[in-house]
Amino acid sequence: MPHRRHAPRGEAKAHHKIIFTGPVGAGKSTAIAALSDFPPVQTDEIASDMTQGRKVHTTVALDYGAFSLADGVKIHLYGTPGQERFNFMWDILTQGGLGLILLLDNSRADPFRDLRFFLGAFKDFIARTQAVVGVTHCDDKPLPSLPEYRDELQRLGYADMPVLATDPRQHADVAELLRNLLYRLDPDLKNAHA
């Protein structure tokens, strides 16, 4: 009987993922586009049900982008479907994830409710990894302010979770979010110019 050995591919071909989540219209697709080395794969369809009125198109599938590191390792960027009815996919999506970037749309009626919802939904994943919060659409609606977000995070038991105002169209803004996440994951990291 032939004896087939299996290469330990768990490490060799690990699937390094960063997860973007947040409510409909928060800018997940755009943020992934800002970081991805190639035009991200996404499926924006005419919005239906709860998303109507918020934006014309919304993601009902998964956003996917990626960038490659100098050594060829690929970092995959996944955006969760914004609609809550697809949240059964989230557990699978987060498997193997390095960390979570939560984008919140400040112009929504109750962004703190969104904050609580997503922190609760990804509670286990955050416990295993780390998360940062990016607040979008601050130009449209400046309140709640970032200090108010920090107070709310403190109340929820995430006192040290970074929260930043973010324009997901700007690479620098999204990169700063990711940079914060990296430092949360490993405080010993050194920046390139150190």
Binding site: E11, D37, A61, A70, I75, Q95, A175
Partner: protein, 452 residues
């Protein structure tokens, strides 16, 4: 005899997922179960009247060929990055999968099946809209990898319950008492594989034999959190433990014990096709169920109303013979997917009664290194073993599960609370700093900084 285009209108349409990766399969399965539960039911190929095929997978062509042999007139929905021309029997759906679109297409296909007079409509999912990437970040224009690579168990070809149940002959059999006869395919189709061939468990080319298939892809549970996992809470326990009672694994073990004690062939009935454990020396199993379907069954809850044990040695023309121990080993790996059997203590030191013969049993990644540690006098616990070897816990847990199901493990008492862990464990944890992760994160940071 039913034809491919005339399913019973009230019954859900039986559908099979072919050539789909395990993660994709899980997502498709969840979509169908959640949004199309009354309209579709996922079954094995022999019962299916419609197929979903991953057109971009390496085995797509083979799957399509087999599907055509099996059901020449039935509809296949091909998920693909590059949709071709639709035909009455082949409908393309563009990837990435848009859930709402897929649901709509499946509903239309079902409607067309229920109304065979009307021609099958042509479907084409809309082309994905790509958000333009800022010029500064568009460093590549290569085709993106669009396949969402989920990893989960594959769909379950369990037959529907039919025929009057018969009392089970095993008094001790938990949750598996009623016996039902296997369901036959609604259409008699010649199998493309010759009958009565003895196959090696290692030689199935249709199986993806990477470690992931046997050990899953679960994340490590931090050693300190392992103590707090509450086995009674499904949300916590499912990450670490698997249950054997309601799985094929539990039935197979039970059938093995029954065959051994009664010296009679014992049949697991109620599956799509029966599995018969023969009380030979060494014990063997015969069944027309091939590896792929067996693997799918391993991750399916088998309900007592549909599945049970019985005495039977009725042969099937397509029977394949497996060694009992080898099959039990493999079924355990497929069921465990890198987890421990419920009740196992991940901190309990392990010692092997005997080293498994990896010429017979599927060797999981690091299996020999792990076994070496477990044959030493001061055996390590599964958690300490993973830390010592600096490997993912899933590799250790998977092997532990297989060894335990074959009664090859001799466990030792867990260190008492307050008692220091064995030195080797402490050393192992201390020396397992996540250097590879540090360099990975450092690499990401460099990428961001250089881009800036």
């Amino acid at each position: 005899m039913k034809t491919a285009r005339t399913p019973q209108s009230a019954a859900p349409t039986p559908i099979v997922l072919l050539a789909c990766g395990s993660r994709d399969t899980t997502v498709l399965e969840m979509i169908i179960q959640r949004f199309l539960s009354g309209e579709f039911v996922i079954v094995g190929q022999s019962r299916a009247e419609m197929a979903i095929i991953d057109g971009d997978s390496a085995t797509a062509k083979k799957a399509m060929t087999e599907w055509r042999i099996h059901r020449p007139d039935a509809v296949a929905l091909m998920l693909t990055l590059k949709p071709g021309v639709d035909s009455p029997q082949l409908v393309h759906f563009r990837k990435p999968i848009d859930v709402d679109g897929l649901i709509a297409v499946l509903k239309k296909l079902r409607a067309a099946l229920l109304n065979p007079v009307a021609p099958l409509p042509s479907f084409r999912a809309p082309r994905p809209v790509a958000v333009p990437v800022p010029a500064a970040t568009s460093k590549e224009t290569a085709s993106p990898r669009t396949r969402v690579d989920f990893d989960r168990p594959v769909a379950a070809p369990v037959a529907a319950p039919v025929v009057a149940p018969i009392a089970a002959p095993v008094a001790a059999a938990p949750k598996v008492a009623p016996v039902v006869a296997p369901v036959t395919s609604p259409v008699s189709v010649p199998e493309p594989i010759s009958a009565h061939h003895q196959v090696s468990l290692m030689d199935n080319n249709t199986q993806d034999l990477e470690g992931r298939d046997y050990c899953g892809s679960a994340e490590d549970v931090p050693a300190d959190l392992l103590h707090t996992v509450d086995c009674l809470r499904p949300d916590q326990a499912i990450q670490l433990y698997f249950d054997t009672d309601t799985r094929l694994l539990g039935l197979l073990r039970l059938a093995g014990k029954l065959a051994q004690t009664s010296k009679q062939a014992t049949c697991i009935r109620g599956l799509e096709r029966p599995l018969i454990v023969l009380p030979d020396t060494p014990m063997s199993v015969i069944s027309p169920i091939k590896d792929g379907a067996l693997r799918a069954l391993c991750n399916t809850s088998l309900f007592s109303e549909t599945v049970g044990l019985g005495m039977s040695s009725a042969r099937h023309p397509d029977d394949v013979s497996y060694g009992y121990d080898e099959l039990l080993w493999k079924v355990t790996l497929w069921t465990a997917r890198g987890r421990l059997p419920r009740g196992a203590d991940p901190h309990q030191p392990v010692r092997l009664r005997s080293t498994p013969d990896f010429a017979r049993f599927t060797a999981t990644p690091y299996a020999e290194a792990i076994c070496r540690l477990w044959t030493q006098e001061d055996g390590l616990s599964p958690v300490a073993t993973a830390a010592r070897l600096r490997i993912a816990q899933r590799y250790v847990f998977a092997l532990y599960s297989a060894l335990r199901m074959l009664d090859l493990i001799e466990t030792r008492p867990t260190p008492r609370v307050g008692e220091s862990a064995p030195q080797s464990y402490a050393d192992a944890v201390k020396t397992s700093a996540p250097k590879s992760r540090h360099s990975l994160l450092q690499g990401i940071l460099m990428k961001l900084d250089n881009a800036a």
